[in-house]
């Protein structure tokens, strides 16, 4: 892995992105506690911000992202509009998808956040097609797909790795191993401790990284993206991290040993990085504070925007099923 010192601007950006994601998601968690405030299931990625910020920051604009049910960080790191994102999460008409995606199926094709599926394990198959299209068109872009340790048990992930391996597609598999799939811990649903090693069975380089170290993720992301971009074929990253808030906002996490939560809380990717940046003199307390305040202000504005937007009206209820609706 390339271990060069990152540019301070980039470091600031990585920190800012993580903070924005955390602030954004903590606000959603707060809203979820107001009964009836947030429709649908809200699934957050607190604790996993470094994977999203690190990996997405290593991408080029032409690169395509396929996400899953824990997508907010991926979208925010890519620069999705906060207001339209929050409105969509609230299932409002001015949301990025007009209130037809909700929190689980967000997509922003303009930013090459091509698709988000909440069918666990579906992402890698969708990514296969996207990466094939890039190869077919001779594009310099690659496709990155995020999926969980639980998803790694779905047959789809295997089929995607095999075909990507045979065709040498520019496809970067990013497995966010957050130690849990619903209420099942890794040992209970996964026959290996090292998911990344499976990649070797498909002639794909597999690597693992501390998913709470944003720079490590960024560096490995850059390296593997370059590998894919060079035409050598797919690559696989397993980012070891932790899901701090339970599976979703209705999950009391009572099956988790509190000591485990404490241990991982101590490894908070944001606090850890803040200490590093302060120590390295990249940022000072005032700058840090302003980053946090900025995030809070933007998130508050997004909530206000979402609140002000109405639910989608009857006019879009039947539309968008087909591009060319049946004329008969």
């Amino acid at each position: 892995m390339i271990e060069h010192r990152l540019d301070p601007d980039l470091q600031t950006r990585l920190y800012t992105r993580m903070v924005l994601t955390r602030t954004f998601e903590e606000k959603i968690a707060e809203l979820c506690r107001e009964p009836g405030r947030m429709p649908g299931m809200q699934i957050l990625a607190n604790g996993q911000e470094a994977v999203a910020a690190g990996m997405v920051s290593a991408l080029e604009p032409e690169d395509v992202i396929i996400s899953n049910h824990r997508s907010h960080g991926h979208l925010l790191a890519r620069g999705a509009d906060l207001n339209a994102l929050m409105a969509e999460i609230m299932v409002k008409g001015q949301g990025v998808n007009g209130g037809k995606a909700g929190t689980l199926h967000l997509s922003v094709p303009d930013l090459n956040i091509l698709m988000t599926s909440t069918v666990v394990g579906a992402g890698p198959l969708l990514a296969l097609g996207a990466a094939f299209a890039q190869q077919y068109k001779g594009s310099s872009g690659i496709t990155v797909v995020f999926f969980g340790d639980g998803a790694a048990a779905e047959g789809s992930v295997h089929e995607a790795m095999n075909l990507a391996g045979v065709w040498k597609l520019p496809l970067l598999f990013v497995c966010e191993n957050n130690c849990w799939a619903g209420a099942q811990r890794l040992e209970e649903h996964c026959a290996t401790r090292h998911i990344f090693q499976r990649a070797n069975g498909y002639d794909i380089p597999g690597r693992s990284v501390d998913g709470n170290d944003v720079e490590a993720v960024y560096n490995l992301g850059l390296e593997l993206a370059a590998y894919c971009r060079s035409g050598k074929g797919p690559a696989f990253m397993e980012a070891l991290t932790y899901r701090m808030r339970g599976h979703g906002e209705q999950d009391p996490q009572d099956y988790v040993d509190p000591k485990e939560l404490e241990r991982w809380a101590a490894k908070c990717p944001i606090r850890g990085y803040r200490q590093k940046l302060l120590k390295e003199g990249v940022l000072d307390d005032v700058q840090i504070q302003s980053i946090h305040e900025d995030a809070a202000t933007r998130v508050e504005a997004a909530v206000a925007f979402g609140d002000a937007s109405p639910y989608p009206g009857p006019e879009t209820f039947l539309s968008d099923v087909f591009v060319q609706p049946p004329s008969v």
Binding site: M41, G102, L104, A151
Partner: protein
């Protein structure tokens, strides 16, 4: 007899089955340790009571869960597996449709597959079309599979017990929108026979056939229909395959009219079979068009406004009944 929620009734059925038959075992994603510590969960407390040998949490592998059931049932176990939400049944559909439903026929009757699949259905919890997609018509079109859809806690218990001890594969649909509804549930090992519909209310002007949560939409419509002096006979199918054709035909021969109501998409939905069957076998009795109430041919939307439009309401039932009378 005591008041139980749907979830508690299902839980009671699973408990009884595990108690009375050592060959019964439970498997699925989170059927043991769950993200919901909720006594309304059908599998609540089973792991604690019966242990890890009989209550198996699985990886997120729907095809494997179904394969497990097919293989284990062929060896004489009575596996009860869960596919979390109806749209995920796609991932298990090769195992269920091409294997559970067909292997007995191809074995020439030497093998059998006494398995049960529990699956959650329903529209209205805001998760959208990848979690909500009622596919009972798919199952019903697959030979060798039975499918039941209880609408009361008592039937939830009785049908699940019948399914588990049926010698053939049965899909048991659990309607999410009924999860917390309660009702009288008889104690002990009660069985609701597969293939017997329930006449919920008798009437003379129009037969309404329905199942699952849609029953309550129909019941809401009855008042308004009664106000107009229209008397409806309501049939809760309970079991879609085997289908209680006689109950439907007898009623339609009496009322001369049929309305079918379900929450699935109308186009090619299960209601189409009912309507077609009646138009074929009770045509002479029909006094007016057969009407179907169901969802439009679009994915289940996420917005509360859209979800409400998607789901048939009592007013749609009223309109349909009036429609059969040319009103």
């Amino acid at each position: 007899m005591s008041q139980k929620t749907f979830g508690q009734a299902l839980n009671e059925a699973l408990t009884i089955a595990l108690e009375i038959d050592e060959n019964v075992c439970i498997a699925g994603e989170g059927v043991g340790v769950s993200i919901h510590r909720d006594p309304n969960m059908p599998t609540h407390g089973l792991l604690e009571k019966f242990g890890r040998r009989r209550v198996k949490d699985t990886p997120v592998s729907e095809a494997a869960i179904a394969g497990l059931a097919v293989g284990a049932s062929c060896m004489g176990l009575r596996p009860v597996v869960e596919i979390m939400f109806f749209p995920f049944i796609t991932l298990a559909s090769d195992m269920l449709v091409n294997h559970a439903g067909k292997l007995r026929y191809m074995s020439g009757g030497t093998s059998s597959f006494p398995l049960t699949v529990r699956v959650k259905a329903g529209v209205g919890f805001g998760a959208g079309c990848q979690h909500s997609h009622n596919l009972e018509a798919w199952v019903a079109h697959s030979p060798g599979l039975k499918i039941v859809w209880p609408s009361t806690p008592a039937d939830a218990k009785g049908l699940l017990l019948s399914a588990i001890f049926d010698p053939d594969p049965v899909i048991v649909v659990e309607d999410l929108m009924l999860g917390r509804m309660s009702g009288d549930v008889p104690a002990g090992d009660i069985r609701t026979p597969l293939g017997q519909a329930r006449i919920v209310s008798t009437g003379t002007d129009c037969t309404i056939v329905t199942y699952g949560a849609a029953l309550y939409t129909v019941m809401e419509a009855l008042t308004s229909l009664g106000d107009r002096g229209i008397s409806c006979e309501v049939i809760d199918l309970r079991s879609l395959v085997p289908l209680d054709k006689e109950a439907i035909l007898t009623s339609v021969r009496k009322t001369g009219r049929l309305v079918v109501v379900h929450e699935a998409i109308r186009f090619c939905g299960f209601g189409a079979e009912l309507a077609a069957m009646v138009a074929e076998e009770a045509f002479d009795a029909l006094k007016g068009p057969v009407k179907r109430v169901g969802a439009p041919q679009i994915p289940v939307p996420v917005a509360p406004t859209h979800e409400k439009m998607f789901k048939p309401g009592p007013e749609d039932v009223v309109t349909a009944v009036l429609g059969t009378m040319g009103k």
